[in-house]
Amino acid sequence: MTTPQTASTSKQNISSRLHQDGTRTINVGPMERLISIAGGGALTYYGLRHLSLRGALFALLGGDLVYRGITGHCWLYQVLGVSTAEKLRSTLVRLPDNQGIKVKRTVTINRPAEDLYRFWEDVENMPRFMKYIQEVSRTGENRSHWVAQSPVLGTRLEWDSEVTHSQAPSLIAWRTLNQTSFAHAGTVRFGPAPYGNETTVTLTLEFRQPVGQVGAITEKLLGYIPEQLALEDLRRFKQLMEAAEIAQSESHPSGRSTM
């Protein structure tokens, strides 16, 4: 059985992955690269349609921006000693051998671990704080059926999930059973915190979907969605546990925007 803890992502192997291609290191971040490619492309197109000195200069500049976006290396940044390249984050890690991504987020909640565990153990509570989960119903002792709205496309997603391991009051682990686009394995840990009755809650989600090299940048960008969602859901869980309600501060008061 695959548990979410299998992929070790210690600080040591994080550092060793940097600067892998010597002098031509990547010093431009993934979002900036996409903008560079898009902006450069538009500039080249504009330049080529205007056959003049100015047009030619635009086309050259655009071409350079596209090149900068594709290679991820910017000479100006190198001269200035700047890098906007993405730093390695323990909150969003690519699994070895291109197997997918792992997201990890943590918050401290001012309630004893027992209370938090008991609430999380009842899967039917999930829609109360997980933003895109609409309905969860128990289908067996360890099994449940989940209905969600896709955070990317707004479409309806359904899957079955199974609790693979649980240890009161410190750990619950689960995994999805069928191949949906949201197939994942998850763990929530309730650990001690230094003050009073506080509990440190750590949510780990592992999405094992192999992607090709081409998809690497897109995958990194898409990875921010589960990373952000995990944090938002934990914050909503914190509010619900500490204040028994979730403050609605989003631009859509219903809390169901489609992004």
Binding site: S15, L18, K87, T91, V201
Partner: protein, 247 residues
């Protein structure tokens, strides 16, 4: 010979201690110690220290001496971070590899360290756009110091936490997230180290074997080679932390 303030300045060194063991009690050790002392550390607390040079390393040692449960060292030189791990038992973050603020939060249950010590000061290095901004303003004489560490420490520190500044600042700084500092209710403590306040207590600690400050010595040279020694120190040749000259 005339010795000003001879009743306060000179200190008699107890028997049985070597010169190398007591040398750093004159400056680097009490500076790091005051950095930790400023934090009013309570048992169980986490302290983050920016800069793993001699002062930073002493701040890390002192934080443990004063009861911290966890100390996290931040630098960009892997060798200095190794010294922090091995000599001071800290966890480490290389700020060129990871987003320091995000990682510190992640390591502390989303709260941030209880106290943050700036052992870098006005000549902070940074490879971000803000780093270029500071350098450009410095070049144009619109800013004297580069407060990169200060900005990070304010952003990382937990609500109600303490910022202890031992790295030297000299003049004017820009773009300080004062709103964050104010609304988080941070305490700022800083200043030149108070040598006489700490000297005797640190001598006692060294004598009792609680700490041996000589671990920061990386180079030993004769006084004649002093110019070369300063060059080694400035360029951080051979992972230099401290050069000790003997006549």
């Amino acid at each position: 010979m005339r010795v000003p303030f001879a009743d306060i300045g000179p200190v008699k060194i107890p028997e049985g201690l070597s010169d190398e063991q007591v040398l750093f009690i004159s400056d680097a050790f009490p500076t790091g110690y005051m950095g930790a002392d400023n934090c009013s550390i309570q048992p169980g607390q986490t302290v983050a220290v920016w800069g793993a040079g001699a002062v930073g390393l002493f701040a890390m040692k002192s934080a443990y001496l004063l009861g911290a449960s966890r100390v996290i060292a931040i630098d960009r030189f892997p060798e200095r971070l190794r010294v922090a791990r091995e000599q001071c038992q800290t966890e480490t973050l290389n700020y060129e590899d990871v987003d320091v603020v995000e990682e510190l939060k992640q390591m502390t249950g989303g709260r941030g360290p209880d106290a943050c010590i700036d052992a870098v000061g006005m000549e902070a290095h940074s490879s971000t756009i803000m780093g270029v901004y500071d350098k450009a303003k410095q070049f144009a004489r619109l800013e004297t110091d580069r407060p990169h560490v200060l900005r990070q420490a304010i952003q990382a520190c937990r609500k109600g936490g303490t910022l202890s500044i031992m790295g030297v600042y000299g003049g004017f700084i820009d773009k300080i997230p004062m709103g964050a500092a104010f609304n988080k209710g941070l305490q700022f403590r800083m200043g030149q180290m108070h040598a006489q306040k700490y000297t005797h207590m640190l001598l006692d600690r060294v004598q009792r074997g609680e700490v041996d400050p000589s671990f920061v010595i990386t180079h030993r040279m004769s006084l004649q080679d002093a110019p070369q020694g300063y060059e080694i120190f400035r360029q951080k040749i051979g992972n230099c932390l401290r050069v000790v000259f003997t006549p």
